[in-house]
């Protein structure tokens, strides 16, 4: 898969081109209409501002007093991209914009690319770059760079309008790698009233200076490789009920040259999501567990996590409550000190129109193990919009 590594290296001019295409997407779609080839350009933007409102760590806090040079208490909202809030208002941690172009050459064959820029990293990242070939009415083969479809919201976790929170729960969506280069096969079919969407995927990912690791090893260069990544998911939709299950495994190699740190872990991840949406009321829930087995160092940990939320749509308003928890269980506390967090939150969403919304959210994050970031209260506001 390493031959696909060049896909990371996209010059800045590409985003200018894509922004230009976005601005004229109405025109290009209108010109192409239903003939082929078709160009479809879409985009999304989320401006998110927030801050931690308490200024003291708890009296029994025994973790680092600063994380990435910022004083605790702090709140890590986005582990993969290094988004963290502290006690002053900031729009940096979670603001983002993306543009996606899909070029459908024939009804069966298409090319798709997506670039995303973030407050934490203005240089655009190539999130997607793949070719898709529909083999028959049920099967589609995709080759290239894609999101790892690990949990329910992974594929579209940057697209704010498509979920009720300001961002998906970091208890579940907190990873050092979010993408991979490889191959996937997707199956989609309707059986009477049941819709089934399933996929199998394999590939690898190299992350240079992972933001996730920099929460622990600040200002130290690191390399994280996810090799031999393989997994499968199935989503079953019946009327108001959606069920999804996923399994993935990979070999995770982490190197921090400055500390002469080298580790190899077998990673396994399982997840189940159950969503229920009837009329104006909905429940979304996800239960996951990951294990990392450092067999050479003779220890392992597993981390069950869950998120459950419910909301009600009242005209353009959607009040929503959620509880998220992440809890590590270590086989050897001398070798690995576990972390755990629990976070109730309340979000109020207002739909401006079918393409945009404003949300406010209040969270209370408990550092249950008192060893990383300490307890914090956070308030956030966001404006989300999609372009199509």
């Amino acid at each position: 898969m390493s031959r696909l590594h060049w896909l990371h290296k996209v010059s800045f001019s590409h985003i200018h081109l894509l922004v230009f295409l976005l601005a004229f997407s109405e025109v290009s779609i209108a010109q192409n209409e239903t003939g082929f080839p078709q160009l479809h350009v879409t985009g999304f933007v989320s401006a998110v501002g927030g801050q931690v409102t308490n200024t003291q760590v708890t009296s029994d806090y025994a973790g680092p007093l600063t994380i990435k040079g910022v004083e605790c208490p702090c709140y890590i909202a986005d582990w993969a991209n290094g988004g963290m809030y502290a006690d002053s208002m900031s729009f940096t941690p979670e603001s983002r914009a993306g543009v996606q172009a899909s070029y459908r050459i024939t009804p069966e064959f298409s090319l798709t690319g997506q670039l995303t820029s973030r407050g934490t990293s203005l240089t655009p990242d190539l999130q997607w770059a793949y070719a898709a070939l529909k083999l028959n009415s049920d099967l589609e083969l995709q080759v290239g760079r894609k999101r790892i479809p690990l949990y329910y919201y992974s594929d579209f976790q940057d697209v704010g309008v498509s979920y009720p929170w300001i961002s998906p729960p970091p208890e579940i969506y907190g990873w050092e790698a979010t993408n991979y280069n490889g191959i996937s096969m997707r199956f989609n079919r309707q059986f009477n009233e049941i819709n089934i969407n399933a996929s199998a995927f394999t590939g690898s990912e190299k992350v240079k200076d992972s933001s996730y690791q920099q929460f622990y090893f600040y200002q130290k260069s690191n390399n994280v490789n996810w090799n031999n990544l393989i997994g499968a998911d199935i989503e079953i939709n019946y009327d108001a009920l959606t069920f999804r299950a996923v399994y993935m495994q990979a070999k995770v190699e982490t190197r921090i040259p400055k500390d002469d740190f080298n580790s190899l872990a077998g990673l396994k991840a399982y997840g189940v999501a159950i969503n229920f949406d009837i009329g104006n009321f909905f429940i979304i829930s996800e239960l996951t567990q990951l294990t990392r087995d450092f067999s050479a160092e003779d220890y392992s940990y597993r981390a069950p996590a869950y998120s459950i939320g419910m909301g009600v749509r009242i005209g353009s308003w959607t009040p929503f409550i959620n509880l998220g928890q992440y809890k590590e269980i270590s086989s050897d506390k001398e070798k690995y000190q576990p972390q755990a967090f629990r976070r109730p939150s309340f979000t109020l969403r207002y739909d401006i129109d079918s393409h945009s919304d404003i949300k406010i959210q209040a969270d209370t994050n408990s550092d249950l193990t008192n060893n990383f970031s300490s307890d914090s209260r956070i308030v956030r506001i966001s404006y989300d919009r999609v372009f199509d």
Binding site: I29, E33, T34, H40, T42, F44, G98, Q100, S102, R104, P107, E108, S110, T112, Q114, W128, Y130, A132, K134, N136, S137, D138, Q142, K146, R147, P149, D155, F156, D158, V159, V161, S162, R186, N188, R189, Q190, N192, E193, N195, N197, N237, G279, R313, S316, D351, D353, S354, H355, V386, D388
Partner: protein, 148 residues
């Protein structure tokens, strides 16, 4: 004309139920498809499926948000508001799981596109039907409430 406009405005403002012409889900007269059921129509327009027996790749034709049939169509067929439907499509588009419907401005544009291409499925006001297209499903809107 003015009286009609005022009546419609009054109905919309007061959320009144009133008769509305049925909506026909249509495809090309040359298509191998003969009929669809409500689950198929709903799954197609929510992006849950993108093929049907005999047609591997279906392309949907939608009407613009300002066009009269659109909100009624989605409300009756899927039970969802246009915002919910749009959010669902954005999820699929940015997951690489679907191409959203192509939007056109009115019934006549839907008919001319659908008539010319067997892969297309759209919906129109029943009164606009002609022989170039065939009806796959009838969305009965007589009892439908106009959702604001």
């Amino acid at each position: 004309m003015k009286i009609v406009k005022w009546f419609i405005t009054l109905c919309v403002v007061t959320n009144t139920t009133f008769a509305f012409a049925n909506i026909f889900v249509i495809t090309s007269a040359k298509s191998p498809l003969q009929a669809l059921n409500s689950e198929q129509v709903s799954a197609l327009f929510l992006g849950k499926i993108s093929s049907l027996p005999g047609v591997d790749v279906i392309q949907l034709i939608d009407q613009s948000e300002a066009a009269p049939p659109r909100a009624v169509f989605y409300q009756v067929v899927t039970g969802k508001t246009l915002t919910q439907v749009k959010n669902g499509w954005m999820r699929l588009v940015f997951s690489g799981k679907g191409a959203p419907p192509i939007e056109v401005s009115d019934d006549a544009s839907v008919i001319s596109k659908v008539a010319a291409n067997q892969n297309l499925i759209g919906y129109i006001d029943e009164q606009k039907l002609n022989a170039d297209v065939k009806v796959l499903y009838v969305v009965e809107t007589n009892s439908g409430q106009i959702k604001r």
